[in-house]
């Protein structure tokens, strides 16, 4: 599902060129649940951003779902991302002025994947799936961190993407909630989603099918 070959990324900074990723090779099959671990600054998030098309590699090849994503234009990338990848962030990143249900409907709206009339029903079923259906018409600020992250996961699932990318999804949550979130990820993986999760949380990461460790921009 995810094919990374000789991938490198170098940032130009005032202090000089900084190689964030060096020559990464990585293959992840469909339905795998992979944790990327490593110290701060090792390049975990950079790798995740590359896979999600948020950042572009300096060199190497990157295929997701069989598609080579380097050559895509901005708008092609946007619509590809909306259909193929669901993102979950450490700080949830729900839009503060939209209700929970509307946040979940937003990706469908952008990508036009479902008939308009079915979008709310689908959003409700996703919220039900992650256990926060009763919060659907509240604003994000009224929810706890764990609830917000569940909404973010529901939003990531909105367009039924084959790949879910999560960057420190439990970094801002207590351990009990963290375990619950990882349990949810495990269920998604069993349903056939490919999950790539950047995490520090060793305990929670115990439930993954594979762990990839990044050290100084290289796969250890």
């Amino acid at each position: 599902m995810i094919h990374v070959q000789a991938l490198s990324k170098t940032y130009e900074t005032p202090a000089g060129a900084f190689p964030a990723l060096r020559n990464i090779d990585l293959d992840i099959a469909a339905g795998e649940f992979v944790a990327i671990v490593g110290k701060s600054g090792s390049g975990k998030s950079t790798l995740l951003n590359m896979v999600g098309g948020i950042d572009r590699p300096s060199s190497g090849t990157l295929r997701v779902g069989g598609r080579r994503i380097q050559g895509l234009t901005h708008s092609e990338l946007a619509s590809w991302r909306g259909r193929t990848v669901g993102f979950v962030f450490q700080f949830f990143q729900l839009l503060p002025t939209l209700t929970v249900a509307e946040n979940v409907m937003l990706p469908m709206d952008f990508c036009g994947v479902r008939p308009r009339s079915e979008r709310r029903k689908h959003a409700m079923s996703l919220l039900d799936r992650v256990g926060v259906a009763d919060q659907a018409d509240k604003l994000p600020s009224a929810l706890s961190g764990g609830q917000q992250q569940r909404v973010a996961i529901a939003r990531a699932l909105a367009n039924d993407p084959p790949v879910i990318l999560a960057d420190e999804p439990t970094g801002n949550l207590d351990s009990e909630t963290s375990i619950a979130i990882f349990r949810l990820f495990g269920e998604l993986s069993e349903e056939g989603k490919t999950l790539l999760v950047v995490t520090h949380d060793r305990e929670a990461a115990a439930s993954v099918s594979r762990t990839v460790t990044i050290v100084d921009g290289c796969v250890a």
Binding site: T13, P14, N49, G52, I54, D55, H74, S75, A78, S79, R81, G82, R83, V85, F87, F89, F91, Q93, L95, P96, T97, L98, E102, N103, M105, L106, P107, D109, F110, C111, R116, S117, R155, A158, N159
Partner: protein
């Protein structure tokens, strides 16, 4: 059902009421300013034109050497080329206003108040028509007469006969200059054979036939051709006057005024456009992280751009809904005020429909146009950039200026942080400074031009070093005049001058002969030199003469028609005067020779008195007039210089009102813009403020540093405003001077204007930074850091 992304737009607008209010206020202020100026400009331009043309202004006035019969006027009406004619003699005189003081009076003798054909006037208040022994006063000169309807006033016509007249009412003569500005009273009386006859016998009154030509009433040569033909066929015409066709007597003032309104309209427009750009920049900076989130959810660049353009359009529509109606109302109020200053009446204060439509169209399209760039930038931003903290700029330290700033170590650290932040967010800095500078430049320019006019007035006053001038009904020997004045203790110094009327081509010019050794006139020279005691057939002309005939030049001759003869004087100098009247200065003997009079005759006298204050000068002029009259010298008019200076300055009132109006408007629009811009700047920094609080900064420290940042921007904008105001001031000085006194004004930058704006901008900056900063500082640290 509305798509969630559009719901986000509405919710963003509704959920951040303060931000929305600030943005809408700033944009509405811009719309208000532009609408107000456009409205008053268009209403005044239309109404001033129609008010004047509705009076049916006479094309030409034929001055006869005796009385004309109604039959003669009827025959003139039938002449080819003449559409209409009316007999309306004019008597010059003075009106007694108490305390021994007189003001100039011009009396129009009307044959039939029910059949006014030309130079029309309309009843304003009181009776109509006036009976015998009654007068109707032009409404704008009632205050000059210091009288009310029903009062009895004493009128002295130039034959020195005094008679009481009862003020029966007031009229509005839109074709006359406002009396309060001219410091003269205009009155209308019924034709009275007895008075007419006596005045005619004494040579005080000449009948005047006013004609309106057929064909092109704006073609001066056509008018002259018709008038000359009529004059030849009726005979006894001593003079033909052709007022500039289609031009109100105060047209130059109106032009200057409307030009200023227009110029400040453009400046306000520029200001509001920058303001809108700043607002949009602030709104988008807020939203960058959300743009990043939406992009990860699959939003395309076009979708994001349309969301934000939609948001801008909604805000702009709200701004128009507020700003345009208020602007129209204020513009109408100002138009009414300005019209009253020009003795005009506004009958229809509605701005043209196209003005309203253009304003609405511009109010929507300009914000959208201005937003296109920043929206495109925000929509195209990469997700990576959107999520990083340093958005849209190079990291601090990559620019040379940043490194220079970073080397400054002696300042307190929080202050250094303020300065570095100010200069780091360059886009925001430039926009904020540009908004403030546009407002500042307009304000400073308005104040500068106003100060320049005051200085011009003062300089002209200083050039005339006498206190009182008296003009005689006819020439008298200078020795007789000086002897009469010797008995007045208040007179320190007196000079006898000669004056005469002359024609330059078709235009009237005044010929003035100051005493050969005159110490009382020191007009600023544009070129050449002033008159010398040994001069003979030479002349010094003022800039108004030059504008009548631009071919005149130093060393050349000026051909003057005096009493039917052509007299050539050699031009030795050109001076600049405030009065727009065309004046030729020549040695008295040259003037007396040209008018065929013996030398040593005086037509007027200029006097320096011991009295410095106004009441003292009033008393002195009473004593002087009495002494002259006792010596058998008939005084046609006597005026204190302070009074004529007041009249000059009253002519500038309307121009100054436009400038003050513009300055106030700019303060309002710029002030609102400044406040909202700086407030939004602080909102943008909520996260940074949270971090500062986290590391121990107190709300007080934070507020102080944010205020410093606002002050730095204010001072920078002030410098920019000063620079930008230079060319604007220069252009306005040149244009208004050229229009009004036919010569560019001397460029002057008012230190007061600069200081006032600095003070204003600093106060506004402090206020509009302090409150939002304190609010931000009081947010809990966690809240501030989580604030996205």
């Amino acid at each position: 059902m509305i798509a969630p992304r559009w719901r986000k737009v509405f919710r963003d607008i509704a959920d951040t009421p303060l931000r929305t209010a600030l943005a809408v206020t700033a944009m509405a202020a811009g719309a208000f300013g532009v609408t107000m100026i456009l409205t008053s400009y268009s209403v005044l331009k239309r109404e001033l034109k129609t008010t004047y043309s509705d009076t049916r202004p006479a094309s030409a006035i034929l001055v006869l050497d005796g009385l004309a019969s109604d039959a003669l006027v009827e025959s003139v009406r039938q002449m080819p080329g003449v559409r209409d004619a009316e007999l309306r003699p004019v008597i010059g005189g003075r009106l007694f206003i108490g305390n021994g003081q007189w003001v100039p009076l011009i009396l129009f003798v009307v044959r039939d108040f029910r059949d006014i054909r030309l130079d029309r006037f309309t009843p304003d208040a009181g009776a109509w028509p006036p009976g015998d022994g009654e007068v109707l006063i032009e409404r704008s000169s009632l205050s000059v007469a210091r009288a009310a309807i029903g009062d009895r006033v004493i009128v002295r016509t130039s034959d020195h006969v005094e008679r009481p007249l009862r003020i029966a009412g007031t009229v509005h003569a839109a074709g006359l200059a406002p009396g309060w500005m001219e410091h003269a009273v205009a009155g209308f009386v019924k034709s009275n054979p007895q008075m007419t006859q006596r005045n005619t016998d004494k040579g005080n009154l000449a009948d005047q036939i006013r004609i309106l030509v057929t064909g092109d009433t704006l073609d001066e040569s056509h008018i002259r051709e018709v008038a000359n033909r009529v004059a030849r066929s009726i005979g006894h015409v001593t003079r033909i006057e052709v007022p500039t066709p289609g031009r109100h007597p105060h047209a130059a003032q109106m032009d200057t005024f409307l030009y200023l309104l227009g110029a400040f309209g453009v400046l306000t427009f520029a200001l509001s456009a920058v303001l809108v750009a700043t607002m949009i920049h602030a709104l988008l900076t807020e939203q960058l992280r959300q743009v990043g989130v939406m992009k990860t959810l699959g939003a395309s660049t076009t979708q994001i751009a349309s969301l934000y353009l939609g948001q801008v359009a909604i805000l702009a529509a709200a701004a128009i809904a507020i700003g345009v109606p208020l602007g129209i109302a204020a513009g109408q109020a100002y138009a009414h005020f300005a019209a009253s200053m020009l003795n005009a009446t506004i009958t229809n204060a509605m701005p043209a429909l196209w003005i309203v439509l253009a304003e609405v169209a511009a109010g929507i399209s300009i914000p959208l146009l201005v937003a296109l760039g920043p929206v495109a930038h925000a929509a195209r931003i990469s997700i990576h950039e959107a999520f990083s903290n340093d958005v849209g700029g190079k990291p601090f330290g990559t620019r040379r200026f940043d490194r220079w700033l970073a080397r400054i170590q002696w300042m307190p650290r929080p202050l250094m942080l303020s300065l570095r932040t100010t200069f780091h967010r360059r886009g925001r800095l430039i926009l904020t400074v540009a908004t403030l500078a546009a407002g500042g430049a307009a304000f400073i320019a308005a104040m500068n031009v106003s100060a320049t006019w005051t200085r011009t007035l003062d300089a002209d006053g200083r050039a005339r070093r006498f206190d009182i001038q008296a003009v005689f009904a006819r020439p008298y020997p200078a020795a007789q005049v000086m002897q009469a004045l010797a008995s007045v203790p208040d007179v320190v110094h007196a000079e006898c001058w000669t004056e005469a009327g002359a024609m330059l081509g078709d235009a009237n010019v005044s010929l003035v002969g100051p005493d050969v050794d005159s110490k009382l006139l020191a007009l600023p020279l544009i070129a050449g030199r002033w008159l010398r005691p040994d001069d003979d057939a030479v002349a010094v002309i003022n800039q108004s003469v030059l504008s009548l005939d631009p071919t005149l030049h130093l060393g050349g001759d000026i051909p003057l028609h005096i009493n039917g003869r052509i007299v050539r004087l050699s031009i030795v100098g050109i001076v600049k005067e405030l009065a727009p009247r065309a004046t030729v200065y020549a040695p008295p003997r040259a003037i007396l020779r040209a008018t065929g009079k013996p030398p040593d005759l005086a037509r007027s006298v200029r006097i320096v008195t011991r009295q410095r204050n106004i009441s003292g000068q009033v008393a002195a002029s009473k004593a002087i007039e009495q002494a002259l009259e006792n010596a058998g010298i008939s005084v046609a008019g006597i005026q204190a210089l302070s009074d004529s200076r007041k009249s000059f300055s009253d002519h500038l009132v309307i121009i100054k009102s436009a400038l003050i109006f513009a300055a106030l408007l700019v303060v309002l629009v710029g002030g609102l813009g400044l406040t909202s811009t700086l407030t939004l700047n602080v909102f943008e920094r909520t996260r940074e403020i949270g971090i500062l609080s986290a590391i121990g900064a107190t709300p007080g420290t934070i507020a102080r540093d944010v205020v410093v940042e606002g002050m730095v921007m204010a001072v920078l904008s002030w410098c920019a405003a000063l620079l930008v105001s230079i060319p604007i001031t220069f252009a306005l000085d040149a244009a208004t001077g050229q229009m009004f006194i036919r010569s560019a004004l001397d460029f002057y930058m008012s230190p007061i204007a600069a200081a006032v704006w600095l003070l204003l901008v600093l106060i506004l900056a402090a206020l509009s930074s302090f409150y939002p900063a304190r609010r931000s500082a009081r947010l809990a640290v966690r809240e501030a850091i989580a604030y996205e």
